[in-house]
Amino acid sequence: MRYLPKSESERQEMLASCGLTSLSELYNYLPAEVLLQRPLEIPAGKSEYDIVDYFKQQASQMANGYASFLGAGVYNHFRPVLCDVVVSRGEFLTSYTPYQAEISQGTLTTIFEFQTMVCQLTGMEVANASMYDGSTAVPEAAMMAIRITGRDSVLVAKTVHPEYRQVLQTYTLHQGIPVTEFGYDGETGQLDLVALEAAINEKTAAVIVQSPNFFGCLENVKQVAELVHSNGALLVVVFTEAAALGLIQPPTDADIVVGELQSFAISPSYGGPFAGIIATKEKFIRQIPGRLVGETLDANGNRAYCLTLATREQHIRREKATSNICTNQALVALMATVFMSVYGKQGLRELAEQNLAKAHYLAADLPARFKAPFFNEFVVRTGDPEALNKKLLKKKIIGGLPLGQFYPELADCMLLCATEMTKRKPMDELRKAVQA
């Protein structure tokens, strides 16, 4: 087998040097009742050719050659070639978590750069080495706020990604953390400040909002922050579309920012792997979950990096850890890091401006459901969105996300997204189809 680097004679020599005569002696001492007495029922090993062919076959049953207007937490952005070039280097791809700082300075340095750029983007002071994804970063932020405030309940806006809210419910259910959702303004599509004011109280540890929110609308974060802080709670701001941060005001009034970097060179890949972020104020650094890279000196007095503040983590603290989280998404975060350094300060802004232009071209004369300003996603009233999407599929267009599954009151609406990759022709076709 091509992944096993031993000849039969080498195997025999090794066995002999172990004082064994057959390979079965390596395991046949296990109790008979636990030994599997038959081969695994998985077809015999296949060649590279067969494997490539199999996955091509599967891929041919996917949406090849379709234009798509789906966003809703996963976005089609161009992936600069350099991103794959860098993450394909074996020294990054096949290295372990950088616990041994002396032989991991490559990974450690890129994570330090990642943490820095996440801070610059979000307007926060510290960021960790990345989270599983945006959805799982949300409950981690909620638990962090609870540790900081000593309060026990959480409020979350209904305009936060529905799947993120579902994940929050799963995580918090058994930790005695009541999670209450509050609604949105049916006219603007922004969170309902009055509902928030009515729901917030002295037990509220965190208020979780998203901007741009699930409907694509920008929230008035400053105003929300004032209300939240005047009640002694922490504000958690979520984002799913990182490209927006090239243009819109960073949520500097937040106490914790969490989000998803999928937009930064991470292919949609049917929903993962992605890379989440969590960033916060310096004063909360010891409550942040997951891995953190810090700067220090080596024995020669040169700048060096290492994993730090490990006393927060499960392998030291066990059941008293800030989280059970162990893995970060180092390689995926590295893709995002390369993306950020390729686009840089100017490029990220130009990219965001193109997204803004495309989405506003698409939205121009469509029946908008909400009035608030939007970045590259928006909700339109389409009548029966499923029927419209069926029609569009015939033109090789995947339409928007029908919202009825998450918001029954918006059953006649769909969420549309345009990015720098969306071409004018399918946009014109979609506009025509919606207006028909």
Binding site: T94, T107, T109, F112, T116, A129, S135, H174, H315, E353
Partner: protein, 493 residues
């Protein structure tokens, strides 16, 4: 004597921010085919940010040199053996990277219509089937993003199941040899953690287990083979003890590389287990992720699995969201699909009989290391070794040298360090797992290196204590890093 490596020139490289200069570019956007819009007028000027302060501006050439230079500061599987115990650092076949990037798969949106997602769904279905076959379990969720995430999912399943029986119970038993994620997970799911002592052989102490298992116990979280690399001979009896009290058996599948094709957790009493696809099934570790931590279960737990579930309806796949007893979602969408694709490609390359051969080679390699090093290092547990072996620094400690020092010295010999100070039940643990993808030559070099270090400890302990000496970066001051954390770059003021 150091045989595997010699020194060569290493490129130095500043941080991105330090090579940045205004106006440098590594990108060009396509021409805009729609009218440009003025951000301030459509968003309101208060919503538009000023420039991203400090963000880098770098050319393409500088970009590629930057990351290439940094990459040379890393050790990696592509350079050699990683003897880290319980980490299963094996070769990462490159075809897995190729197939994960297949156009229709890599660009698939999780919300695209099911009729245009059948290929991806078929991949998930086949992987579910193969992983169930490997583990002897009845059903599986591929949603968890990593091992610890899988643990949380598994304990949530147990909690929901016990709740459905009327009482979620209060405690989770965790052996003192367990990974730190186990107790952290149990606490996150609202359970009190009760540590159970191992016996002198590093195994589950049945008497202690029996005494600890009462009607308040929800589950035992067991790792098998355990973190000493020893198969829990009494695992079936342990399961019987838990089951007799209505509790569940959870298995941490971190060490599954010792079992594939030889023994199946579903056949020795396990109710729930997670796997680490980035260990057993070769998906790249990537410097700390991404992983995938599928959770396999026995039939009675199926109604509680995360939504959505794959469902076959009239010759095509559907996502079934209608599972009223489900624990809900543990992650958005369907899991780390790209990692799952890689794992399936790996399983296909080996096939059923091949997976078993790989396991046997992993056992042989661990055995070879044990035999080679036994004369030089203390072996506190002498039970048969499976995929990893744990020595103690007892003999070297007399010379003032500890496990961590020897691990650092090993770096000078051209290897990654082994795992130090874990499991905690072994004094000065030196934990080594070679995996099956190491050649005889690489293993001989490793054994040689360790023997040479053992001699150095006796002849010149300071040489070992001050190691590494040959790396680009000597020991770093981790204490200083934690005392005054600097976790982001700032311009010199």
């Amino acid at each position: 004597m150091i045989k595997k490596v010699r020194r060569h020139i290493v490129q130095e490289e500043p941080l991105l921010f330090e090579i940045s200069s205004p106006g440098k570019k590594a990108y060009q956007l396509p021409d805009l085919d729609v009218p440009a819009v003025d951000a301030a007028s459509v968003l309101g000027s208060e919503q538009v940010r000023s420039e991203i302060e400090g963000f880098p501006e770098i050319s393409e050439v500088e970009n590629i040199r930057h990351y290439t230079r940094l990459s040379t500061w890393n050790y990696a599987i592509d350079l050699g053996l990683y003897p880290l115990g319980s980490c299963t650092m094996k070769y990462n076949p490159r075809i897995n990277e190729v197939v994960a990037r297949t156009e229709g798969l890599a660009w698939a949106h999780p919300y695209q219509p099911e009729e245009l997602s059948q290929g991806a769904m078929q991949i998930l279905a086949i992987l579910e089937q193969y992983l169930c076959e490997c583990t002897g379990m009845d059903a599986i969720t591929l949603q968890p993003a990593a091992g610890a995430h899988g643990e949380m999912t598994g304990i949530l399943l147990i909690r929901k199941y016990l709740e459905s029986k009327g009482n979620p119970r209060k405690k989770v038993l965790v052996p003192d040899s367990a990974h730190g994620t186990n107790p952290a997970t149990a606490a996150m799911v609202g359970y009190d953690v009760v540590s159970v002592k191992s016996n002198d052989h590093g195994m589950i102490d049945l008497a202690a287990l029996e005494a600890a298992t009462d009607k308040d116990v929800a589950a035992l979280m067991v790792t098998n083979p355990n973190t000493i690399g020893v198969f829990e001979r009494d695992i079936v009896k342990a399961a019987a003890i838990l089951h007799a009290k209505g509790a569940q058996m959870y298995m941490d599948g971190a060490n599954m590389n010792a079992l594939v094709g030889i023994s199946r957790p579903g056949d020795f009493g396990i109710d729930v287990m997670h796997m680490n696809l980035h260990k057993t099934f070769s998906t790249p570790h990537g410097g700390g992720g991404p992983g995938a931590g599928p959770v396999a279960i026995k039939k009675h737990l199926e109604p509680f699995l995360p939504v959505p579930r794959l469902k076959r309806v009239r010759n095509s796949w559907k996502w079934d969201h209608n599972k009223p007893k489900s624990i809900g979602k543990v992650r958005a969408f369907y899991g780390n699909f790209g990692v799952l694709v890689r794992a399936l490609a790996y399983i296909m390359a080996h096939g059923g009989p091949g997976l078993r051969n790989a396991t046997v080679d992993a056992l042989l390699n661990a055995q070879f290391i044990r035999k080679g090093l036994e004369p030089y290092f203390e072996l506190p547990v002498t039970e048969p070794t499976m995929h990893e072996v744990v020595f103690s620094h007892d003999r070297q400690e007399k010379f003032g040298v500890k496990t961590g020092d020897m691990a650092k010295r090993l770096i000078d010999y051209g290897f990654h360090a082994y795992t130090t100070s874990f499991p905690m039940i072994v004094h000065g643990a030196m934990m080594m797992e070679p995996t099956e993808t190491e050649s005889k030559r690489e293993l001989e070099l490793f054994v040689d290196a360790m023997i040479s270090i053992a001699k150095e400890v006796e002849e010149d302990p300071q040489l070992v204590i001050k190691a590494p000496h040959l790396t680009r970066t000597p020991r770093v001051d981790e204490t200083a890093a934690a005392r005054k954390p600097i976790v982001r770059w700032k311009p010199a003021s």
